[in-house]
Symmetry: C2
Subunit: 101 residues, 2 copies
DNA sequence: CCTTTGTTTCGTTATCTTACGAAATACAAT
DNA sequence: ATTGTATTTCGTAAGATAACGAAACAAAGG
């Protein structure tokens, strides 16, 4: 009985990628923070003071969100201003909304 | 400069857990399948034939969804009938909806 | 009781994740 | 030129994840 070689759809892959980006409380916290604040941007240090993790660990989580495309970082040395990546965030909402029917 | 020892909220932790459960295309596929089919139940073999992964790997993914509380399995030997766990699925929707504002 | 069937568990391997402190970077101000 | 500040990258370690095939299991049917 041959098993289907069909791969997953692009949408399933993208949804899984966004879900993975949100699969740690710190990253959920960050996206919450961005959504709640009208400007939808923040500096790493601002959030670091509120989280029970090392700064280097926070940096890793920021990279994960950036790699997934949910945020982008604009250098404004010595600060880095992180902002929501609205197009991908909108896509995330859309993909989840579709899943939820 | 003392760092806050505040932990994450229960909601952040729960949302992250549900997101993690959805962080693989196969698991997204399974939940899609459940949502699309009115009865919201299925047998492991049905879905196995459509996925490009080994049965044992599918079993692992089913365990992950079960551990996260998104599905439950009712033994109906030699079949196992997997069904959506509606209360937790509703909570998942609610938590994501809150995040999306 | 033996076999078949659908499914899980086991054993294994490779890779990814999370975490931390230390060191590096990059600019501003002294 | 040196110092200070904000942040990242590096190095490392522990643990989780995803994948497979082989073996185990549990009930039904012969």
């Amino acid at each position: 009985m041959p098993k289907s070689t069909a791969l997953f759809t692009e949408q399933e892959i993208r949804l899984a990628r966004y879900a993975k980006a949100l699969s740690h409380p710190a990253r959920v916290y960050i996206m919450e923070y961005l959504v709640k604040n009208a400007n939808r941007c923040f500096y790493s240090g601002t959030i670091s003071d509120e989280l029970p993790i090392a700064r280097s660990t926070l940096s890793q989580h920021l990279s994960a969100l950036k790699d997934a495309g949910l945020i982008k970082g604009e250098i404004n040395s010595p600060f880095i201003r992180y902002c929501i990546q609205q197009d991908n965030w909108d896509e995330t909402k859309q993909l989840f909304t579709n899943l939820f029917v």
